[in-house]
């Protein structure tokens, strides 16, 4: 696992842009995802401002269509998926004791392909007819050349192809790293929880993402040449192919953050992870099941096997429940420290529970017929992806920021950030459940003044500004912490996994030496061994009458 000395790294912009160090690639990918997050978040704020009142005040309906398309596409293709993979690129080699990622050049190529894809997608706003405006799943015939003409829609398709290709390449590198570059002693059954969550994630990526690539290629060809998605049957085929990617990607955006929360909960409970092996089995079972539930997004078409997809969707409750059991079991009896990463982990557990429970409702075809394409679905997936994934992402950021930068984030600002984000998320998304049940359709720029939707929409809009404030507090925290640096040291949390053995930030080759690896938590093993030997020394000393140190 040791690395060979290489020529001194290139300095300056070119050196940074072209660095193959997996830590640089991971950090660049996370930074790019955060930039796209801000851009896509601003689009959401404009949408929420428009929806605060009935009637059209801020944007036209056509612009609104572009806003929700690029907001959704941005968050899924350019923010959460790449952010999840960025964590893997940075952390997986460190957690398994490797000197680098497998195929660092390939990984760098994947990163740049993703970034350029994002720029192409956003570049659609600069074209005459605006950006893509057929929604993040761009069903045919709406996304066809006749219904949505223009270069902006083409750029959306090309952007999706590039971003997805980049993520697929990066995922392949992560999988190859886990399989081929583990340190001596780091068997598969000693991988940390986060690394296992990345394994489950990249398995889904390598199956699902190629299907989207092919589909987007076909859509682009159809837009220019026609003849591919011309029939009603072809539209159902499009939906089948899209959701074969579109459902697993929800878990691609969720599992890595679940794994991060697992590491955070174990560290801040001062306890070994409860039910490590059942959790691994449940993660893999969950990932497999999540590949088989895609057509529950198509219940209303009556052109898929509803019974099968309802069954497999409900089966997700079992591994999901096991994962909650493992997290709660880890906390029970632990000496819980409520630091900022732990607060975000608890927020993740609370909010994803709401997303998961409402997921059971939309997994039932009779209920889904009512909820489909309503704000209920919007609320459900925002509790899953914002409440779940984003809170998990912030748990991960606060937890690993000291490792990445060598600097601690401010606890006080972190807690303010958490409180604002928790309140903002619930204010924004909880009213949407009621709006959906009352019949407000999603993706509308306007609603009747007498429909009774105004009050709840105003609450949701106020909540979205609270979220924006929370993100501003986070940005301030990063700036303040980087300017007035509080050094973190190699392991500021008393963590369990191998990345905390390396200095903060880790050197180019990650490790000068490695401790003995006897479990998924080598650092905890080491501390327990040290405590045991001290205890034995003390007992021995008391027997001989000596004073224990």
């Amino acid at each position: 696992v040791s690395a060979v000395a290489v020529p001194a790294p290139r300095r300056g912009v070119v050196g940074w842009l072209a660095s193959t160090d997996h830590k640089h690639t991971g950090a660049k990918m996370a930074a790019a995802a955060f930039c796209f997050f801000i851009a896509s978040g601003i689009l959401a704020l404009v949408m929420r401002t428009e929806l605060a009142q009935p009637g059209m005040q801020v944007v036209s309906t056509d612009t609104y269509n572009q806003l929700f398309t690029i907001h959704g596409s941005g968050m899924i293709y350019l923010v959460l998926t790449p952010l999840a993979l960025a964590l893997g690129v940075y952390l997986v080699p460190l957690q398994i004791g490797a000197a680098d990622i497998a195929g660092p050049r390939t990984c760098l190529f994947g990163f740049w392909t993703y970034v350029l894809g994002g720029l192409v997608m956003y570049g659609g706003f600069l074209t005459d007819q605006g950006a893509g405006r057929a929604g993040w799943f761009s069903y045919t015939p709406l996304s066809g050349g006749q219904a949505t003409p223009g270069t902006g829609m083409d750029m959306w398709v090309i952007g999706v192809i590039l971003a997805t290709l980049g993520c697929l390449i990066v995922a392949g590198a992560i999988l190859a790293t886990v399989i081929g570059l583990r340190a001596p002693g780091m068997t598969m059954l000693r991988l940390p929880v986060f690394t296992w969550s990345m394994v489950a994630t990249v398995l889904m990526v390598v199956i699902a993402f190629p299907v989207l690539l092919v589909l987007m290629g076909l859509l682009l060809a159809d837009r220019h040449l026609g003849g591919i998605f011309d029939s009603a049957a072809a539209d159902v085929t499009y939906q089948n192919l899209f959701w074969f990617y579109g459902h697993p990607v929800v878990y691609v955006m969720f599992f890595p953050f679940l794994g991060a929360v697992g590491d955070v909960v174990a560290t801040f409970s001062r306890k070994r992870f409860f039910g490590y092996r059942p959790l691994i089995v449940s993660l893999l079972a969950f990932a497999g099941l999540s590949m088989s539930v895609w057509a529950h997004h198509m219940f209303a078409t009556a052109k898929v096997t509803n019974q099968y997809y309802a069954l497999t969707s409900h089966m997700l409750i079992v591994p999901g429940g096991l994962e909650y059991l493992a997290l709660i079991g880890t906390m029970i009896g632990g000496a819980i420290l409520l630091r900022t990463p732990m607060l975000f982990a608890l927020g993740f557990m609370a909010l994803f529970l709401i997303g998961g429970l409402t997921g059971i409702m939309v997994a039932s075809p009779p209920l889904d017929y009512h909820f489909t394409d309503s704000y209920f679905v919007v609320a459900h997936f925002h509790y899953t992806l914002f409440g779940g994934s984003l809170f998990g992402a912030f748990a991960a950021i606060y937890y690993w920021f000291p490792k990445v930068t060598g600097v601690m984030l401010r606890e006080g600002l972190g807690k303010v950030h958490f409180a604002l984000l928790f309140v903002g998320a619930n204010l924004t998304f909880f009213p949407m459940f009621f709006l959906g049940v009352d019949g407000m359709p999603r993706r509308v720029a306007n609603y009747p003044a007498d429909a009774g939707f105004t009050g709840l929409n105003q609450v949701a809009t106020a909540g979205s500004y609270v979220i924006a404030l929370a993100i501003a507090v986070f940005a301030a925290n990063v700036v303040v912490s980087m300017r007035r640096r509080v050094p973190a040291g190699p392991d500021p949390w008393g963590a369990h996994t191998l990345e905390w053995w390396a200095p903060s930030p880790p050197p180019r080759h990650n490790f000068d030496s490695l401790p003995a690896i006897r479990s998924y938590a080598p650092l905890l093993d080491l501390r327990e061994e040290t405590a045991d030997s001290r205890q034995q020394t003390a007992v021995g000393a008391s027997r001989t009458g000596a004073v224990a140190p």
Partner: protein, 119 residues
Amino acid sequence: VKLAAIVLFGWAAWLGTLAAMLWIWSAHGVLEPALLTGGAVAIAAAGAYVGRRARPAGPERRIADSSAAAVVLAVGAALAAFGLTAGLWLILIGAEVAAFGLAGLVRELRAERRGEGRR
């Protein structure tokens, strides 16, 4: 590596089981079960590859510090892809840039091999 292959085979078997259920149940053509079966077969093939592949020999691995060629290749690929809507001229420019990137990659790899040969 063997356990990694077992994990891949196990996961492929799980997907295969779910696909078998869908083959039995599906009344809407072959696309749905075929997609899931394809996924299972792909993962099983990856498992077979991993199981037969030996772990990389030797504990040391040479690490490239930077690769401008990989960035150039990505830019070329993106330009060529953008050319699908902008026109043939951009596809050609993109292809040219990508060719430069590929040549650079070959150069980098050769230089690395030469470096390893000297050690």
